[in-house]
Symmetry: C2
Subunit: 355 residues, 2 copies
């Protein structure tokens, strides 16, 4: 009965403005590629200034031939194009119980884009990585204060040399066929497939190879799993994206009529590919295989799934989705609680009322 | 330290698109008047078609001189301009515990506008309301199906004659100095000050005076408080806005540093005016008076409030706000639970971590 009108449209969902943190309206986008205007924004600081200098990328440190690459030269080098989801490691933080502090992301710190760039390995091969190099550090243009430390910090992260040299780790300059938009890291952004988004450093300023472990606060304080409230015991770094799924439609706590309804959503993983999504409409008692829609030519990309549900009895229902990847990882019934709220991937659960 | 950039901005927060339901990004707007583009959208159906007919408003039923008012004539009649908040009765529904079904509004089904229109009492006085008239019914152009009843229904609501004749009950044609935008009910919208938003019928099609109680489903099924899950005992209609407040900043679950922070928000009521807002930073043990900012020339309008908080101890804090109105109504610690989730107004509570 409903006539979809062109005037009906979603927007980014604002969680904060200082800094600007906004979710993709993920429940309303069943598109292979997230339109650029709907890409989630996750910032640590105010947006940086862009100047002429921004178009030069130095590579230094444990490098045989330190160099400064020019943007205009970089975009003429052999490039690679990858379709992949970026997910903030704090995505779904709002679902942790007990609650944790930090941006209360629900499902939409997740967007899938077409990223084009030069493999970082090409630049490291041109410059020559010294054998004693252990990690590669990426410093960004954005900077500011932290609540827990005195001083001014640039957003800075490192990768182990092995991940830095992976042929799909890119110095990206295009998103969805256009120069990366300013809010997404223009002009140059590191893109690290299969890792949570904190690794994909925006507004790249400098690359530095080092012979030790990088200890900056965005590496060594934030973006670690702390299993305990009052001690740092068991601290481990956040890296690979967990196997996960969401139900896009129906919406949680919605009211449906009897008849046939489509239960549909997205599944994704940072290890291998999605091999199965199961759906339960009785709170986890019985599970049914969902129909998957995948692009095997783009192995990092997310999977759409769908299940047709016929319901005749008026009642309340608990609907769940559970994804499994090719490494045998499966969404747990309870997410691994951790103090800073990263990596939530419990079985996705909604309630609906049929009347 | 943060430089507020003009490129940083909030958007409407999309809760659903079928129909389009979107919240005002209320935590980020500390303006007396909500900009029109940030007005919340609450729809029951698809947007209606607008035609030439839409500019004629019939008044019929228990009316001595039934008439059809023309839009062009209406906007030339003596008008009244009121500043008032509209609040969806489902605002804050997401906070009910146990959870209830329906749109999971958080704080932003709330916007304050400048509404200009003709007092409905003027039109009823021109047309002549018969003495046996008990209610005035407002039929809208939007229509569609319901999950619980067969058939097609126009959105239709009634007011008791006394409320219909209140000099501030308006047939509005301007919002914030311009013709009412289409999504807000263009060309004509009923505006009922002090009542929840369901009474302020958009896209007015027809006014009908009746000598009995109106029993349409948006009057007699929806928009009633049902205190019990499984029976309709104690059912009472939703009318006057409850005394309520929100903390706009800081945000729930945010992380702050030690020092001085501004705790600020909005308070509003459908009965009298706000006379006090109290703030607690220790989970309700101690309360402090907030500083109020009010416009007494516009007695329906909301109140901004502010409290300066000096915090030196690193810890987790539970911050609360509690408003009181001139009728002595005060926000309760627990909202009155009701099956359809209306009128939530418990003491507003957030948690923050100071580190």
């Amino acid at each position: 009965m409903y006539t979809w009108k062109s005037i009906v449209k979603p927007y980014l969902i604002t969680k904060d403005l200082k800094p600007e943190n906004q979710e993709t309206p993920i429940h309303f986008l069943r598109q292979w590629i997230t339109p650029t205007k709907y890409f989630f924004n996750r910032n640590h600081f105010a947006y940086p200034e862009i100047s002429g200098q921004t178009f030069f990328l130095p590579i230094e440190g444990e490098i045989i031939r330190p160099a400064i690459f020019k943007y205009d030269d970089l975009i003429r080098m052999p490039s690679k194009t990858l379709i992949l989801p970026l997910e903030c490691s704090g995505n779904k933080r709002a679902y942790f119980d007990p609650g944790v502090y930090g941006e209360q992301w629900k499902d939409g710190a997740l967007s899938q884009g077409v990223w084009r760039g030069i493999p970082l390995s090409s630049l490291l091969s041109i410059s020559g990585l010294r054998r004693r190099a252990l990690e590669v550090v990426f410093e960004a243009y954005d900077y500011g204060e932290r609540t827990d430390l005195k001083g001014i910090f640039h957003y800075t992260r490192s990768l182990p040399v092995q991940k830095a040299l992976h042929p799909d780790t890119l110095i990206a300059y295009e998103l969805n066929g256009k120069p990366i938009p300013f809010k997404q890291g223009y002009p140059l952004r590191l893109i690290v497939p299969q890792w949570y988004g904190m690794a994909s450093v925006k507004w790249l300023k400098k690359i530095i190879a080092i012979d030790h472990h990088f200890k900056g606060p965005f590496q060594d304080i934030d973006y670690n799993y702390y299993p305990h409230t009052d001690s740092d015991e068991g601290k481990t770094p956040v890296t690979t994206i967990n196997v996960d799924s969401i139900i896009q439609q129906p919406l949680d706590r919605s009211i449906l009529d009897t008849g046939t309804h489509i239960i549909e959503g997205i599944a994704w993983t940072g290890a291998g590919i999605i091999v199965e999504v199961e759906v339960s409409t009785d709170g986890g008692e019985n599970w049914h295989k969902a129909k998957l829609s995948q692009d095997f030519s783009q192995p990092y990309s997310w999977t759409f799934w769908k299940y047709i549900w016929k319901v005749s009895e008026k009642a309340e229902y608990t609907i769940m989705s559970r994804a499994t990847d090719s490494l045998g990882r499966i969404q747990p019934f309870e997410a691994m609680w951790n103090r800073k709220g990263y990596g939530y991937n419990a079985v996705y659960t909604i309630k609906v009322k049929v009347e």
